[in-house]
């Protein structure tokens, strides 16, 4: 898929663990793992908003378009 999810990069920058982020945004660690590995088919605006709030960043910092 040409949309890359950079949640792990932002997590590393903020020095935040998966468990902590999952708790903050209210999703399971399994779903966070799906998001990080790029297996997710879609992201809800509410989830994106929660991630941006928890990591103190913009949606553009998390999602990136790269041509195949």
């Amino acid at each position: 898929m040409s949309i890359i999810v950079n949640v792990d990069v932002m997590m590393a920058k903020r020095k935040m663990s998966s468990q902590e982020l999952a708790e903050k945004i209210g999703i399971t660690q399994a779903n966070l793992s799906i998001l990080k590995t790029g297996k997710a088919k879609a992201v809800r605006f509410s989830t994106l908003e929660a991630i941006c709030k928890a990591l103190d960043c913009q949606p553009g910092d998390i999602l990136e378009y790269r041509e195949d």
């Binding site: 999703i27 779903n31 966070l32 799906i34 998001l35 297996k39 997710a40 088919k41 879609a42 992201v43 809800r44 989830t47």
Partner: protein, 234 residues
């Protein structure tokens, strides 16, 4: 639209149109033969070649049935015999008796048709039984999956598609077997006043249900895609 779904739905509509047309327009497919003068259709006592009656010591009668071969066929009055018919007169009521599906029985010792019809009928019945058991197994597997709550999964769609395919194949097989047997009997049996005709008496519900199941399988596959998408939405 899914390519298979397009094909199956087109086949479904085509099958319905063909079935309706065939039943409405072509009642049967027949081949006529001309009657000879010595032909006779009569109600008579059963000859000893079919059954013999023995009187036992206590005075009762024991019937001894001989081995016989029978063929079930559709018949229609021969050309030139349309103005003649069988009539039943009983009391004040008279009924014209229209023969359609009849059973022709010959003593096994006088069967001149050879073993082909019997062997062919047994072989095709065995194939149909095999297909029937296969369908039963597929339905059993399908129900077991559904009971586990697995509905929108590829395996269920495959079971339904296979069941539909087998039902359709069963219909076509029945049709072919019936046609071949009838044609063989038409060539080898001469009936007085009646012609043997081929008539499609296969249950069209097999075909309709089979094609409908094939369509449903594709709908389940589409549902599976939607479910996967829903499950992977974070």
């Amino acid at each position: 639209m899914n390519k298979k779904l397009k094909i199956y739905s087109t086949l479904f509509v085509a099958a319905i149109i063909v079935l309706v047309t065939v039943n409405a327009v072509f009642v049967n497919f027949q081949s006529h033969s001309y009657c000879s003068e010595d032909e006779k259709l009569e109600f008579a006592e059963v000859p000893a070649e079919y059954v013999t009656c023995d009187t036992l010591a206590d005075g009762s009668i024991a019937k001894n049935y001989k081995g016989e071969v029978s063929f079930e066929v559709y018949v229609t009055p021969k050309r030139g015999h349309e103005e003649r018919a069988l009539f039943s007169t009983s009391g004040n009521q008279i009924f014209k008796v229209d023969m359609q599906r009849v059973k022709l029985v010959v003593p096994a010792s006088k069967n001149k048709l050879g073993n082909f019809p019997v062997i062919f009928a047994i072989a095709s019945a065995a194939v149909m039984l095999f297909v029937g058991v296969w369908i039963f197994c597929l339905i059993f597997k399908l129900i077991s999956r559904v009971r586990k709550g697995e509905i929108f999964v590829a395996q269920v769609a495959r079971y339904i598609e296979m069941t539909g395919f087998l039902l359709t194949a069963l219909y076509i097989l029945q049709l072919i077997v019936s046609y071949i047997l009838t044609q063989y009997l038409v060539r080898n049996i001469q009936l007085a006043c009646y012609d043997i005709v081929f008539k499609n008496d296969c249950n069209s519900m097999y075909l309709i249900t089979g094609l409908a199941l094939m369509i449903i399988s594709q709908i389940i596959l589409m549902g599976k895609d939607l479910k996967d998408e829903q499950d992977l939405t974070i």
